[in-house]
């Protein structure tokens, strides 16, 4: 159980929630959130948007009943959080190129923040694509060396990856597939997959994703995979 510090609407349907939490959290990991009894039945997997000692932040989109209930919570309310779960993005020392689409930008904030902490000399370029309205962009501008923003277009049309950069992406599967396709094979690409989940801990096999080396659990073996593991055809 965690106490909510804030839960603000950034633009319609997009919310940012901070809760009391202290623990080891990696970029790209997620928590299972719930603030209800048996309906909906399952908790909601929400990725870590930001973390500092005592404060864990989620950026989420209202898409159904669960996230709708989350969006109505007020500071001081309790929310059940389980986690962190999943492998998260790997720590790298090469230059970093990050590509996010829509609510897929959520885990990239903490990723860029941790990267810059560990690699103050490293270059981090960020591509962000949104359909209608952008959110959370200023935070990237204050951390990254370059932010390329696209609203209403196709962010991958503008994507140019420099030699030696590692690429990390999160967003709609079509966007990640496009990134996986267009980035030269010399650059490493990590993708953060999404799937319906029931348990979040690897027991239900509901979030299985086909990979080159057989079925993997998005919740436990992922959500972050190397491009060639999941986009191999």
């Amino acid at each position: 159980m965690a106490i909510i510090q804030s839960n603000d609407c950034l633009i319609p349907l997009i919310y940012k929630m901070s809760v009391d939490f202290t623990g080891a959290v990696l970029p790209g990991q997620f928590f299972m959130l719930r603030a209800w009894d048996k309906d909906p039945l399952l908790s909601r997997p929400i990725s870590v948007h930001d973390y500092e000692t005592g404060q864990l932040t989620f950026l989420y989109q209202v898409v159904g009943k669960g996230t709708e209930i989350l969006s109505r919570l007020k500071p001081g309310d309790n929310v059940e959080i389980q986690g962190p779960y999943g492998n998260g993005f790997p720590e790298v020392s090469e230059d970093l190129c990050v590509v996010g689409g829509g609510i897929g930008v959520a885990p990239l904030h903490y990723l860029v923040k941790k990267y810059k902490e560990k690699n103050p000399q490293g270059t981090c370029r960020v591509y962000l694509g949104f359909r209608e309205n952008s959110y959370g962009v200023e935070a990237f501008e204050s951390m990254a060396d370059e932010v390329i923003l696209d609203i209403g277009g196709i962010i991958t049309n503008r994507l140019k990856v420099n030699p030696g950069e590692v690429v990390m992406t999160c967003g709609p599967e079509m966007l990640m597939a496009a990134v996986a396709n267009m980035v030269p094979p010399e650059n490493k690409v990590y993708v953060s997959m999404e799937a319906h989940m029931a348990c979040g801990i690897g027991a239900c096999l509901g979030c299985t994703c086909e990979t080159k080396s057989g079925n993997k659990k998005v919740c436990k073996d992922g959500p972050v995979f190397l491009r060639e593991e999941v986009f191999y055809e």
């Binding site: 719930r34 319906h196 690897g202 079925n215």
Partner: protein, 301 residues
């Protein structure tokens, strides 16, 4: 710990009547992060088949009001990998281990059972009720004659006692249960998931590649309770009930309907601590009611 929850299921002693259900509990490892598995009365493995199975493609989970539909399709590593990688870990857990076995035809059921004779589990749960596989699975479990047939062959071959897991999707479930008892089953477990369907109107398509999928969770509880009652009236072998059981109060209802043990399935996803909370709740209930053993209220309805 008091003995008020100790339960005999056929000749097997369970420290309490709460068992984690197949398919919701992996091989137990994932839940060790939450509690000591030895607190459980027993645990039931993910359904195993002779050969490894990749399971179904496409969406595998879909929530419904207070329920969950799944179409996993018996994804599992196969019996050999289970014996090699999972059993050495599981066999040392001080709780009753139940191995759930599925198959696509008679031969694959029997070969799987034969291989499992190499391990010392306490109970086999014969799965003739999975709605999510194209061959075998539920096909055996929806008619009393075929259910009795396969049960008889499995019982003859297995060194373990056999409990048959029944489907709610076939003929009168009490008749199927009776056929299994006559065939030599030492217990009945029910219900597997109810076959349902989901359509995504936005995509104008069925949600599941297999069209139909299995519904579980609190939404199915009244049906499971009714079927448990019917089966308990029909057979003399013990019954392990499941179907939307989520609290100790639910467990009591099933025990009052005649169940000897209960399995907790989908609720493991809702609250990983649910089985432990249930055991504690049942224990307190026994103390408050002055029951020396939970069996005193079994089958009172």
């Amino acid at each position: 710990m008091s003995k008020c929850l100790e339960t005999m299921f056929n000749e097997i002693l369970f420290k309490n009547p709460v068992i984690s259900a197949s398919g919701t509990f992996g091989f137990g490892r994932e839940y060790e992060a939450f509690y000591d598995l030895e607190k459980l009365g027993g645990l039931c493995t993910k359904g195993l088949t002779l050969e490894p199975k990749a399971g179904n493609k496409g969406i595998r989970l879909w929530e419904t009001p207070a329920g969950l539909m799944n179409s996993i399709g018996l994804e599992n590593p196969g019996i050999d990998a289970f014996i090699k990688n999972e059993w050495p870990h599981l066999k040392d857990v001080n709780t009753v281990t139940i191995i759930n076995v599925g198959g696509k035809d008679e031969e694959s059921y029997l070969k799987a059972i034969e291989k499992l004779n190499a391990v010392d589990a306490q109970l086999i749960e014969l799965n003739i009720s999975c709605p999510n596989v194209k061959a075998g699975g539920m096909a055996y479990g929806i008619k009393a004659t075929t259910a009795g047939d396969i049960t008889k062959k499995v019982v003859e071959l297995s060194k373990h006692p056999v409990m048959v897991k029944l489907s709610p999707n076939g003929d009168a479930i009490s008749e199927i249960a009776l056929a299994c008892e006559i065939a030599g089953a030492k217990g009945i477990s029910l219900i597997n998931t109810l076959q349902g369907m989901a359509i995504d109107y936005k995509k104008k398509s069925a949600v599941f590649n297999n069209l139909y999928a299995g519904l579980s969770g609190p939404a199915v509880k009244p049906i499971a309770l009714r079927m448990t009652h019917q089966v308990c009236q029909a057979v003399t072998i013990p019954v392990m009930a499941m179907g939307g059981i989520s609290t100790w109060e639910d467990a009591l209802e099933f025990i009052m309907a005649g169940a000897t043990c209960i399995q907790m399935g989908t609720m493991n996803f809702n609250n990983p601590m649910a089985p432990v909370e249930m055991i504690e709740g049942l224990e307190i209930y026994c103390q408050k009611e002055g029951l020396s053993n939970i069996s005193e209220i079994r089958g009172i309805i």
